[in-house]
């Protein structure tokens, strides 16, 4: 596989690899903060695709606008997610996602 800065597919390759690593993090981690890091990786891979398609496809800046909106929502998601993690830590004294299952009982 040959990467080149002027080929669309090389950006898509990097995006796909980042997405897979983020998915792996979300699936396997039991630490809530690590799960959030995986979500950030997934959002970054989606952003790479947005900007790459905007650059090579239409040529206008619409894709970049969507990327900025995704970055904005990622900031809001990180703030809320980490606040929830802190609340869980205060309640259960651990952030293992398996510990927070009192809703089940």
């Amino acid at each position: 596989m040959i990467l080149s800065p002027s080929e669309l597919s090389s950006y898509l390759f990097i995006g796909a690899i980042l997405f897979t690593l983020g998915l792996f993090s979300v699936l396997t981690r039991r630490n809530a903060i690590s799960v959030l890091m995986g979500v950030e990786l997934i959002l970054n891979s989606a952003n790479i695709n947005y900007v790459a398609f905007s650059h090579f496809g239409s040529g206008n800046a619409d894709g970049q606008i969507y990327a900025i909106f995704v970055i904005m929502l990622a900031a809001a998601e990180a703030a809320i997610g980490l606040a929830i993690v802190l609340a869980i830590f205060q309640l259960f004294h651990t952030i293992d996602v398996e510990a927070a299952q009192t809703l089940k009982d």
Partner: protein, 166 residues
């Protein structure tokens, strides 16, 4: 090999390499710091794609904001001494199968699809264009975004404060 291709390889290796550390490291502090490499590498990719404004936003918000927030959460929720047990993983085998199949399918699709490409790719400053789009076509989502951020800020404060029981 051209110098730009070499730099592109460097950026790609930094991005993917630190993402691998994020996904596989057993120490959550290493994971959190490797996110820096991933975010900075993605900003480098944006520069290659001619998106200067998005690259700056990526550095400001991801590296300057979200990463610091994650590091704060790591430091606040862990006793720093017992780092070895902080990043346990569960169910590795099914996850490897699922993500492996997914990766193969994605890469095959990317390779086999005949992507349409605009004839000439021009590099020009994008900030003015993005500003025009935000205040014309995307005015309503832009204003909604400020509301979402306000709600997220208040929500984060309410959720994470300590309850004081009378």
């Amino acid at each position: 090999m051209e110098i730009s291709t070499a730099v592109f390889y460097l950026v790609a290796i930094i991005t993917v390499g630190s993402a691998i550390v994020v996904a596989f490291s057993r120490n959550i502090i290493y994971s959190a710091f490797s996110l820096l490499g991933t975010f900075a590498g993605v900003a480098g990719l944006y520069v290659f794609l001619g998106a200067d404004f998005v690259a700056a936003v990526q550095l400001l918000i991801y590296v300057g904001g979200i990463l610091i927030l994650i590091l704060f959460a790591v430091m606040l929720t862990h006793r720093i001494s017992d780092v070895e047990i902080t990043n346990r993983a569960a169910g590795r085998v099914p996850a490897v199968i699922i993500t492996g199949v997914f990766l193969v399918l994605l890469l095959q699709t990317i390779r086999d699809t005949p992507w349409v490409k605009v004839k000439e790719v021009a590099y020009q400053p994008t900030t003015a264009k993005i500003g025009d789009l935000f205040l014309q076509t995307y005015l309503l989502p832009f204003e909604l975004a400020s509301l979402v951020l306000l709600a997220a800020m208040i929500g984060a404060v309410v959720i994470s404060r300590k309850e004081i029981k009378e």
